[in-house]
Symmetry: C2
Subunit: 423 residues, 2 copies
């Protein structure tokens, strides 16, 4: 008998019909002879509605904070109770558990709590009794303060993966409104194919590069604890994408290129005329880090001999740009740079594939394809299994298409795309 | 410095504006130099909306039950978090607590839990730190099962009174959408007056007789623990009705009649032709009790010498009538009665006043007033401070009016009536 953890996002339980559909799927899994633990997000727009309500009550919303966690977790509480009722009405036995009852112990960082330990004793007991356990996604509990916390973005995915690890589950199924992970965003590349198997290493690179189906955090947690993920649609019974730790465990041959991800959420900051002396770059990034700038790509130009100065460019989330620029300007005298340029019209494209390690010529194919399409590269950065490039924002869609095609990823027919994203 | 517990019902926090208005009132109380603990119900229609949602998900709603408690407490969680945010945005410090965090420990009877002990250590600490504590109304926690419970009808009032008792508060203010307790329902008697002071004994009689402003349970709890209640409107700053344990503690002179309550929610069952032998009535009411019939008034006729049989009539909530009749019918042979009559077109009127103890002639005035108005009495029952009568349902409004007038309770001008009731 397998133990399956199933996570259903907000779009899967959008309304009463969604809750009933999900309940049926859970009961089917149980009746097929599996032990089932479910993690559920707040229904559809509940979180947004609660935030709207809060906006009506206070002039400026507190970011994070104890009361915000108290408020938002009401959403998951509603969906988990309804789901338990729906399962029971189908004749199976279910029991819902809050984050606290499920032993999701976290630190006290409200709105972005980190898991400290997972002790799902009550969940395990319920499963042992033959019950389906429903666990509140997103919510945690801090033992020191006795307060309810939330795990922040991607919280419910993390709840599911953490439970799967603690319960030693056979697989953690992440149900969503798309059929799985695709070779590219099907809204950009209609010929994108669903990926059947991907390593967590590749998945991490894809997620970091903008693929939104899985949150980096949950993939990292799964990787660290050896949890097998299965990303699939809650609207169909089709197999989705399996995320494994090692491709060697499977019979599936490694592809050179797994997928192409793109991301329009970053801006580029260029610190121009930096004295090319040892330690200068370090000083700059110390200031950036102190201003909470989440730096992604970095490129340093060769300095000109005449001036002995160089330019340093880096990308970071658009939302971080302002505070980083202010911090750098305030240290201008100390850092001795000449000027700062800010560009929020950039886009990032990343080509990911474990097969890159053993295949030469990947970058040559990439650069040729982009060059033929008249797309200029502004920054390039690589890892063992990824090549990322920065282009103009309005060229990203074209770039993704030509790359997808150049590496033979195009499908024979266009995929069906569902809308929406879960929390 | 006084410690005031304030309870706000669903109609007081109907919407965002209501939450803001309540927050301002709480902060004003705090700034006037008091320590404040607040208990809040779910906002306006939240509970009904959650029940509607559950009705969409399952064919028949579970009554009570663990998951229903999990679902419904989400409502109070939303309102308490929003209220804490609103208070903070006014510059005061607030902290919200769930029933569990506030130490509202109950038995495990989901949907109708009884308080086992109240250990509001965290609430007291918050107050000591100068914070305003917001406590989730209606919600409790069972330590044995580790599950969330709810206190059932009047739950938030009971939460407030129990906290006031445990914290030894100076007063427990129950905010509602009416100005206080009235000498009669202002919708029936426009000239009804607000009662300034009432003893908990009188209040219990009024509540049992149909006055809906306070729930019997919370009045009983207050009486048992010596908590002074103040029922008042959250829409005005006017003083409401104070419920004290002993009138002797105050300077207010005892009125002969405090108020007139009426109730259309009961039915009358008559068991006719019962053998007039010792123990027969006891046997009948044993059957009624076993069928969960909540008997209110009982009248036994004098038996006729010819037959040696008598009729026994009693009133009980309309909803209980069916099961009680079925139970009696099934024991007909054993009980040896002749027939059962069921009448759901009755109304009950109760005249309550501590001064009845020392004043003769109250019942004479009552009967004369009703007789003059052509209203026939079907049943009469009395306690030390109450006279209850049963009439035809369609005569109740007239009866209340003439009684109210006969005892000089009429005000000089009509009261303003607000609509709605809280949980």
């Amino acid at each position: 008998m397998a133990l399956i953890v199933q996570k259903f996002g907000g779009s899967s339980v959008e309304d009463a019909e969604g809750v009933k559909r999900v309940a049926k799927r859970i009961v089917d899994t149980r009746r097929a002879g599996n032990d089932v633990v479910c993690v559920v997000s707040a229904m559809g727009d509940t979180t947004d509605e609660l935030l709207d309500l809060a906006t009506e009550v206070v002039p400026t919303l507190p970011t994070g904070g104890r009361e915000m966690d108290m408020l938002l977790t009401a959403g998951e509480r509603i969906s988990m109770a309804l789901l338990a009722m729906a399962i029971k009405s189908l004749g199976a036995d279910a029991l819902s558990f809050t984050g606290s009852q499920a032993g999701m112990l976290t630190d006290a960082r409200h709105g972005a709590a980190k898991i400290v330990s997972v002790t799902p004793g009550r969940v395990a007991e319920a499963v042992e009794r033959g019950q389906i356990a429903i666990v509140q996604g997103f919510a945690g509990f801090n033992k020191v303060t006795g307060d309810i916390t939330t795990l922040g973005r991607g919280g419910s995915d993390t709840t599911a993966v953490a439970l799967a690890a603690a319960l030693n589950a056979d697989v953690c199924e992440i149900y969503t409104d798309v059929d799985g992970v695709f070779t590219a965003d099907p809204r950009i590349v209609p010929l994108a194919r669903k990926i059947d198997l991907v390593t967590s290493e590749e998945m991490l690179e894809l997620a970091s590069a903008g693929a939104k189906v899985l949150h980096i955090r949950s993939v990292e947690y799964a990787r660290r604890h050896g949890v097998t993920l299965h990303v699939r649609s809650s609207f169909t019974s089709a197999t989705g994408t399996t995320v494994v730790q090692n491709r060697e465990e499977t019979d599936v041959e490694e592809a050179i290129i797994t997928g192409v991800a793109s991301d329009l959420s970053e801006a580029k900051i260029t610190v121009a005329g930096v004295p090319d002396v040892p330690g200068k770059a370090a000083s700059i990034f110390k200031v950036v880090a102190k201003a909470q700038g989440n730096v992604d790509m970095i490129v340093q130009n060769v300095s000109t001999i005449e001036t002995g100065r160089t330019d340093i460019s880096f990308t970071l989330p658009k939302a971080d740009a302002r505070q980083v620029i202010e911090a750098l300007e305030s240290e201008k005298a100390e850092l001795a740079f000449e000027s700062i340029r800010h560009d929020d019209q950039i886009g990032k494209i990343a080509l990911v594939g474990g097969g890159m390690r053993t295949n030469v010529g990947v970058s040559a194919t990439l650069f040729e394809a982009l060059s033929n399409a008249g797309i200029n590269l502004e920054m390039i950065s690589t890892s063992e299994i990824r090549i990322s490039v920065v282009t103009r924002a309005d060229q990203v869609a074209d770039a993704v298409k030509v790359i997808h095609s150049a590496f033979g990823l195009d499908n024979e027919e266009a995929a069906v795309v569902h809308a929406g994203t879960g929390r």
